[in-house]
């Protein structure tokens, strides 16, 4: 769209959109009310959190790194936002955001200054942020103030139509998209992922760029935490378990290479939506009363679905990988 490449890059980014469309058509035909306003609103309201962390994760993965801490940071930030909720969303939102930024900054410090590999650094942050959340919250959910405008943010809709959380996620989405395609920072992120050594020698301030990327990921998680607290009425120190894995899956389904250097923000959005649709559809399927899938079968099916998507993904994108593998 921004004219980065004039030819269609590869099937990967389009494939995931095609998959989304097919799944939506299937579900619309099969289930009543699937495309109903209520389902669409709540679907995006809930998934705005996953979209946010997937977007942050996408940037991190484009640099060739990974951020395992996002789930815990969501929890921590939701607790902080809940504590600051009496002062209204004007204060609670920045507070939650800052929490995420702080966590991202610590990740950045561990990775760039202490030179600890991202996997381990963010794994430690995953444990640490969870611990902090539990300590701060005294091991229980923290109630929010229902009298301030804090919960309005999570529970009401702009123009009575679009959940505020969705608007927030959309703003972040656009900002990150433009950032990646049209700013020096975005180019640096992709350059580092493509070849960190070369990037350094080409004069890219590698550490600074990495730091910013982890901070953005933390910030996205922080915003997701604010949405969690305000949309669900509590700071939840135990929430977000395993969210990092669904974020990674979204990013990969969106065609971003885990080795870094190649990636797309819109396709990441599609990846997150696609994974979210699976849960939604499983719920609707159970409502049909044809077969009632136990939670366990649902796990098996989700695993199988992920399998199919990544295999298809590797096929359509595989040309490039395979060619490079043989020369």
């Amino acid at each position: 769209m921004f004219g980065m490449f004039n030819r269609s890059r590869d099937l990967r980014t389009e494939g995931v959109w095609i998959a989304v469309v097919l799944v939506v058509i299937f579900a619309t035909l099969r289930y009543d009310n699937f495309m109903g306003l209520y389902n669409v609103q709540t679907f995006f309201g809930y998934n705005s959190m996953f979209i946010l962390i997937a977007l942050g994760m996408a940037l991190v993965i484009m640099t060739g790194g990974i951020d395992l801490s996002v789930g815990s940071v969501v929890a921590l930030s939701s607790v902080v936002a809940a504590y600051t909720s009496p002062y209204g969303i004007e204060l609670a939102l920045p507070a939650g955001l800052l929490t995420g930024i702080a966590a991202g900054a610590i990740n950045a410090f561990l990775i760039t200054k202490m030179r600890i590999v991202p996997f381990i650094a963010t794994l430690a942050m995953m444990l640490g942020a969870r611990g902090m959340a539990l300590v701060l919250a005294d091991n229980k959910s923290v109630s929010v103030d229902w009298t301030s405008n804090f919960t309005k943010f999570g529970l009401t809709r702009a123009f009575g139509l679009i959940p505020w959380a969705v608007i927030l996620a959309a703003v972040v989405f656009l900002a990150l998209w433009i950032m990646l395609e049209r700013t020096t920072l975005g180019r640096r992120i992709l350059t580092i992922g493509g070849n960190p050594e070369a990037a350094k020698l080409m004069g890219v301030p590698v550490n600074q760029t990495l730091a910013i990327t982890y901070i953005i990921s933390g910030a996205c998680a922080g915003l997701a935490g604010v949405i969690l607290a305000s949309g669900f009425g509590a700071g939840q120190p135990l929430e977000g378990l395993g969210w990092e894995l669904s974020a990674i899956a979204s990013v990969v389904v969106g065609g971003t290479l885990l080795t870094g250097g190649v990636g797309s923000i819109p396709a990441t959005l599609a990846g997150a939506v696609l994974l979210g649709l699976i849960f939604n559809i499983l719920n609707f399927e159970n409502g049909l009363g044809v077969i009632s899938l136990s939670a366990y079968w649902q796990s098996v099916i989700r695993g199988g679905f992920l399998l199919i998507v990544v295999i298809l993904q590797s096929r359509s994108g595989g040309g490039l990988a395979r060619r490079r593998g043989t020369t």
């Binding site: 030819r7 049209r182 640096r188 990037a199 020698l201 080409m202 250097g261």
Partner: protein, 508 residues
Amino acid sequence: MVDTPVLKMTAIRKSFGDVPALTDAALTIRPGEVHALIGQNGAGKSTMIKILNGAYRKDAGEIELDGQAVRFSSPHEAQLGGISTIFQEVNLVHYRSVTENIVLGQEPKKFGMIDWPKAHRRAEEVLQRFGLNLDVRQPLHHCNIAVQQLIAIARAVSFDARLVIMDEPTSSLDSQEKQVLFRVIRDLSAQGVAVLYVSHHLEELFEVCDRVTVMRNGSMIATHEMSDVTKLGLVSEMIGRDANQIAESGATGFGKTHAGSQTVVLELQNLSNGTNVKDASLIVHQGEIVGLAGLLGAGRTETVAMIFCADHPAGGNMAFKEHRSFFREPAEAINAGIGYCTEDRKAEGIIPGLSIRENLTLAMIPRLAKRGVIPRMAEREMVADFIDKLSVKCAGMDQPIRELSGGNQQKVLLARWMATQPDLLILDEPTRGIDVGAKREIQTLIEGLSAAGLSVLMISSEFEELVEGANRVVVLQEGKAITTLTGGDLNEDSLLAAVAGEAEGAAL
């Protein structure tokens, strides 16, 4: 007007752990001059450069730029300080577009956003200077190595630098492209930009350089005006041996003492890979050294890669000894008696974290191992033997190979294949990045092996090497074998004519 030097490095010292790389290095470059830096493999040239531009930190010494003491802590800072570098290994980002690789760090902006149309235009302009007309929007990895190297050079030159450093910039360039590069270097020099030029190709120095500094074992030996020295004199300073002695033994180690037998070892018929190799045919006899010549992008690498099943062939026939079809795995080719030393040392040759020993024996483990267990003593003896024979400069066989200089890594890789005692050895640019002394040793070795019955198929961009070393040279043009030169027909002029042929400029 020859007042303050643009660069003055004095008493530079640098050690990696216990290994000293630079002991007393010095370098002075005048404004606008083209200054050569030469020395054997491991002499410390690359280290010197990396210290200069902040990639490494020096242990001691002074660096002055325009008379001012400077200390860069990253290539980025050096770039801002007016030093722009082209590194020995092409260091660009494959997945990103050509434009990005060129403008990264100085993107044109509009309202704080990158102005892509303008960026593309600028990239095109910069490349035009090198006579390159290509789609700058395509990902870099769609370009061949030569173009990539030119892009790297174009990038470095596009910064407004006081000093441009080129570490073996011609290692992937053919003679035409070299001329383009030299023209650009002269342009730079005319504009007052100094160029530091590192190369093992001494002839090149006489073509473009004004002065030369010789390094040996981490120290500066001498600096001369180019007009005051001879090739032989430089070589003797580099190696530290008497000039007469060297003159006696010839420029290359090839003596071409024998001809191959009549037994055909390898036969390729109409080989194609569906892309750039279209109709490659050639024959290698037992004990013969066959050269493979062509412009960059002529498909030499791809052709030999298919023999070894490093690449999958799309058509044609192959026969190797009694084996009458293509191999399905490199392992099969090795078993059948082929060795293949690749062109891209870093990506396809060394296992950086493993030791010299482990790298050296890698291809022959199946033969070495007894019931899956590697016999320790036998392995060590063999490795010690090769290190000795090839005089690999290292701290010991258990040193990680990544710590060796480029040339010494190349020797270990050659040893890897010699150790498998193949019937056919395929060498893709075997002496690229290797100093004169080592080159001779390697060439002598190849010659000796072929005298003992080994067949060699060798790709080289150096005509001298092919003319002196090969019994026959097959010339590829755009993926087709167009002619074979033997005997009296085989000289540098005929080779140049055949390689370039009608395909003037077709390489790009």
